[in-house]
């Protein structure tokens, strides 16, 4: 199970990368894509949308299940990977390269939902 050490994670199986400009890039983990199975549909948030931490802001559907994806912090959506929507199964093959959306955190955004690779590994029983 791949859990890159240089990323942060949420307990709802998202990975989070902090970019040099402070924005966050978010996708779903290898564990999540494997559990979901073949992804067939994704719905991304619109760029410009203001979100609160914990809001369900995207949807990933595999053949067998529909799953909400949550905003790990409050802020504004500044990017959405629309290219993925045509070939959603890329998420299965390359989960850490298939980013879903980018958030510019609000000034007072709390990052306490984020855990490190070791804590995430423990949370999934690795």
């Amino acid at each position: 199970m791949s859990i890159p050490a240089d990323l942060k994670y949420t307990e709802s199986h998202e990975w989070v990368r902090t970019e040099s400009d402070g924005t966050l890039t978010i996708g779903i983990t290898d564990h999540a894509q494997e559990a979901l199975g073949d992804v067939v549909f994704i719905e991304l948030p619109p760029v410009g949308k203001t979100v609160a931490a914990g809001d369900a802001i995207a949807v990933i559907e595999s053949v067998k299940a529909a799953s909400d994806i949550y905003a790990p912090v409050s802020g504004e959506i500044v990017g959405a990977n629309d290219a993925l929507t045509g070939t959603p199964d890329q998420i299965n093959g390359t989960p850490y390269e298939s980013w879903l959306f980018k958030i510019k955190p609000a000034a007072d955004a709390k990052t306490d939902r984020l855990i490190d690779a070791g804590a995430y590994a423990t949370s999934i029983g690795e």
Binding site: G37, G54, K64, A65, D68, N92, S123
Partner: protein
């Protein structure tokens, strides 16, 4: 069979185990039917794996690294990697399913034919040649479906039935009750000593003959919905039936539990691809085949579940259980196929069980839905007002939006060919 996903969020066709996992750390649920990835976390609350039943192929599935799920109390493989790859293997080559959780039940006694003419909605008088089989519903006196099953005729005093896993105990008890109440005097023998492997696909039968060459001559000309027993094959007492749940050709093979692992491995050596419950569901949906517990249950008439063709009323002297209720109530709804329409080449979601269907004549409900790998569209079965017909356009409520869908006749796909079109 399938425990239906709760409204509480999880839109899945998978059984109880997933809904239990879904109860974990739920975020605020919203109307619509999505759910966070929490569902895949491990939890102490999930049914303990040691409480689940195992088929004789359980170790083989683990050795193949299958992703396992609780399927109605059985620990079963949902996929061995990609369920879409497994689906395509069945449509283009050969795949196989461990369906040993289903139950073979043998019935012997002089009044066997009379018994089945009374007990089930289809008419075993159609079974005139040994080995011929019939798909039928087992009804309760209110005309609801207790199970759907296949009956094989071997001799006037010797029939075999295969029933669903989740309903097996219920069915056996019901058969026992009818047998006793009617004084038929049959011996009813659930055969837990048997495993079942379904090998399906255009190349399936040839690969089975490579493993069981002694069966080729007797089954090369075997017509669909017929079976042959081989009491002394190289794998013991086996039965090959030209039946299946995928819309492709193939055999469903009853084989002694003690031999099934060697049999399974011999098929793998011939290039047959193991396929799990995920692929089984997309295949059967494309093929227009009902799933008990989802498309119908004891509260649903076969006439409202697309199964009128399995109810034989032609012999007016045949009083079978549930007949009076069916004739009194008739059909109240129509059972149709739906294909979600794409807008600008993109669909707005995936059709799922329990989504509301909005039609010009009132509301209906999806009973089973999925994304079709062979069609690259989302498809579903739905129970809708009786006046709705193929060719109509309806809407399906997905995440609070009304998305357009076309009504089509079932099946969507047969023998590898897509029949239905938007």
């Amino acid at each position: 069979m399938y425990r239906i996903a709760t409204r509480f969020g999880l839109c899945t066709l998978l059984p109880d185990g997933f809904t239990h996992l879904a109860q974990l750390k739920k975020p605020k649920p919203r109307a619509g039917s999505t759910h966070g990835l929490f569902l895949f976390s491990r939890t102490p609350e999930a049914r303990s794996m040691s409480d689940l039943q195992h088929t004789p192929l359980h170790a083989a599935h683990l050795a193949l690294n299958a992703r396992m799920v609780d399927f109605g109390g059985w620990d079963m493989p949902v996929n061995y990697g990609s369920q879409i790859d497994e689906h395509h293997a069945v449509r283009t080559d050969a795949g196989m399913f461990d369906v040993s959780h289903m139950r073979v039940v043998d019935f012997t006694g002089d009044k066997a034919r009379e018994f089945f003419k009374y007990a089930i909605a289809n008419n075993v008088d159609k079974l005139t040649v040994p080995g011929k089989a019939l798909y039928s519903c087992l009804l309760n006196p209110e005309g609801g479906v207790i199970d759907d099953l296949i009956v094989y005729y071997f001799a006037d005093d010797n029939y075999r039935v295969v029933v669903n896993a989740g309903t097996a105990e219920k069915d056996i008890a019901w058969f026992g009750h009818l047998n006793a109440e009617g004084g038929f005097g049959l011996t009813i023998s659930p055969r837990r000593d048997f495993a079942i492997v379904a090998v399906q696909g255009p190349n399936a039968r040839e690969k089975v003959w490579q493993v069981l060459p002694e069966t080729r001559d007797a089954t090369a000309e075997l017509k669909p919905f017929n079976a042959v027993q081989f009491p002394a094959s190289s794998f013991g007492d086996v039965m090959l039936a030209r039946t299946g749940y995928t819309g492709e050709d193939g055999f469903e093979i009853v084989v002694p539990a003690t031999q099934v692992e060697v049999f399974w491995n011999a098929l793998i050596a011939q290039g047959v691809k193991p396929a799990g419950l995920g692929a089984r569901d997309t295949l059967r949906l494309e093929a227009g085949m009902n799933l008990y517990g989802q498309d119908m249950d004891d509260t649903v008439s076969p006439l409202d579940a697309g199964l009128a063709w399995t109810v034989d009323l032609s012999d007016t002297n045949r009083a079978f259980v549930g007949r009076a209720a069916l004739e009194a109530n008739g059909s109240k709804a129509r059972f149709v196929g739906l294909i979600l329409q794409k807008e600008n080449g993109r669909a707005g979601g995936v059709l799922r069980a329990h989504q509301k269907v909005v039609t010009a004549d009132g509301e209906g409900e999806i009973t089973s839905g999925t994304f079709s790998p062979s069609m690259q569209e989302s498809i579903a079965f739905a129970r809708v007002p009786a006046s709705v017909k193929p060719g109509d356009k309806v809407h399906v409520v997905i995440r609070d939006k009304q998305l357009p869908a076309s009504v089509v006749k079932l099946p969507f796909v047969r023998n590898g060919k897509v029949l239905a079109a938007l």
